[in-house]
């Protein structure tokens, strides 16, 4: 346990925690667009700026990848931080001024529009990298990655082909802060990142279970018996009831 202050309030944190998680846990409000507690901090959006004073020296830094250190004092808001965050927001807004999620964040920071020219590609992607990290770190599929540098950077599957390692689990689309990762699903197929998957159905009720690749990956990772991967949760719950009935009433007619 180590102790430091946030906006004058003394807080405690575990070694290895970052400033952002400690601040959020203590109810401080810090805007973020590239942070997700499930994956490693990356520091792409630069909205989570705070001012850290350590041994008398102050500096502006991102809080999501700054370690909690004993004795530091952290300021989460002041005029300078607010102004810098608004400028960061203006820069991010250039990437897609019409995106509702970005507009909501802009409203929250008091930015009504960006004074800058819009980026050439306005697809709503702000290159926060959450999809890439979720896919690599959490799912373990590693289907997408950053390509290109500088103003030409973007996220893509290898060679822009349908990714072989994508399992179609949709986790990337779920975490996207601007909700621009497109996918479609009909009765039998699901399409994402240009790859179309045939869906596996529950053998009892026909409900969608997922893609075969996704289920195979889950099976590999969990080591669960194959029988887990052919029945939906609802039907399994019903089977549980039958099993409980057998326990309660024994062999007699239920």
């Amino acid at each position: 346990m180590l102790t430091f202050t946030i906006d004058g309030q003394t807080v405690q944190a575990e070694e290895g925690q970052n400033l952002l998680e400690v601040a959020l846990a203590h109810g401080f409000d810090i805007p973020t667009l590239c942070y997700h507690p499930s994956v490693s901090a990356y520091g792409a959006c630069r909205l989570c700026l705070v001012e850290v004073t350590q041994r008398g020296r102050s500096r502006i830094t991102t809080s999501c990848n700054y370690p909690a250190l004993p004795g530091i004092s952290v300021v989460t808001r002041n005029d300078r931080i607010d102004r810098l965050r608004r400028l960061v927001m203006e820069l991010i807004l250039c990437r897609d001024p019409g995106n509702p999620q970005l507009q909501a964040m802009a409203d929250r920071l008091g930015v009504d529009r960006t004074r800058l020219r819009f980026a050439s590609r306005q697809d709503g992607c702000i290159l926060c990298g959450l999809c890439e990290r979720i896919c690599r770190e959490s799912i373990g599929a590693d289907a997408i990655s950053f390509v290109g540098r500088g103003h030409e950077r973007r996220l893509a599957t290898p060679f822009d082909e349908p990714s072989e390692s994508c399992v179609g689990c949709l986790a990337c689309a779920m975490v996207c802060p601007t909700q621009v990762i497109e996918f479609t699903q009909d009765a039998d197929t699901r399409t994402i990142w240009k790859r179309t998957f045939t869906l596996v159905k529950c053998k009892e009720c026909g409900a969608v279970l997922g893609t075969p690749e996704e289920l195979a990956l889950f099976q590999r990772k969990t080591g669960l018996d194959a029988s887990y991967f052919d029945t939906c949760d609802a039907c399994r719950k019903k089977q549980t009831a039958t099993a409980f009935a057998a326990v309660t009433w024994g062999g007699q007619r239920p």
């Binding site: 997700h36 507690p37 499930s38 994956v39 979720i134 959490s138 799912i139 373990g140 689990c169 949709l170 986790a171 779920m174 975490v175 279970l209 997922g210 289920l215 889950f218 990772k221 969990t222 669960l224 887990y228 991967f229 029945t231 939906c232 949760d233 609802a234 039907c235 399994r236 719950k237 019903k238 089977q239 549980t240 009831a241 039958t242 409980f244 009935a245 309660t248 009433w249 007619r253 239920p254």
Partner: protein, 156 residues
């Protein structure tokens, strides 16, 4: 430590628990279909309520790639941390009892959380088939007649 005890023998199939649960967890809409506890008829007069058992070595917790399933030390219930969950559905596959679901209507993974320590289902169960207690009531409990049950929260 209190736990949720289920005694199917006492269940009269009134489904008050399902309604109570869906009210307790209502987000935008309420419907028994949203309930985390379900009552299954196994014979014309026999019913089994099924809800999460909060397993000791829970499969859902083990497989979650984002550590979004966490046991609440006070209630012992396993809860979903929606800020961490990425809805990959590994938990729904891994639960051997089918007790954790993706609810498309609220777009969230849902499971029994014992209502934070005072489960609505148990509160409204008229027959002690569901009990939130240190240990379950033993012995026969007189079953109320199904048709005569008055659900407290439906009283005008």
């Amino acid at each position: 430590m209190k736990r949720l005890f289920i005694t199917p023998d006492r269940c009269i199939g009134c489904r008050a628990c399902e309604l109570a649960c869906s009210f307790a967890h209502a987000v935008a809409l309420t419907s028994p279909a949203l309930s985390r506890i379900r009552v299954y008829p196994v014979a014309s007069d026999r019913f089994v309520p099924v809800a999460c058992l909060q397993c000791e070595e829970a499969a859902c917790v083990k497989v979650c790639p984002t550590q979004a399933l966490v046991r609440n030390p006070e209630t012992l219930a396993i809860e979903v941390d929606h800020t961490r969950c990425v809805k990959c559905m590994m938990c729904t596959v891994a639960c051997p009892f089918g007790n954790i679901h993706l609810d498309l209507r609220v777009d969230q993974i849902v499971k029994c959380d014992v209502c934070g320590g005072d489960p609505a289902c148990a509160r409204f169960c008229p027959s002690l088939a569901l009990e939130w207690a240190e240990r379950p009531t033993v012995g026969p409990v007189p079953k109320p007649e199904p048709g005569r049950v008055v659900l407290p929260f439906l009283v005008p």
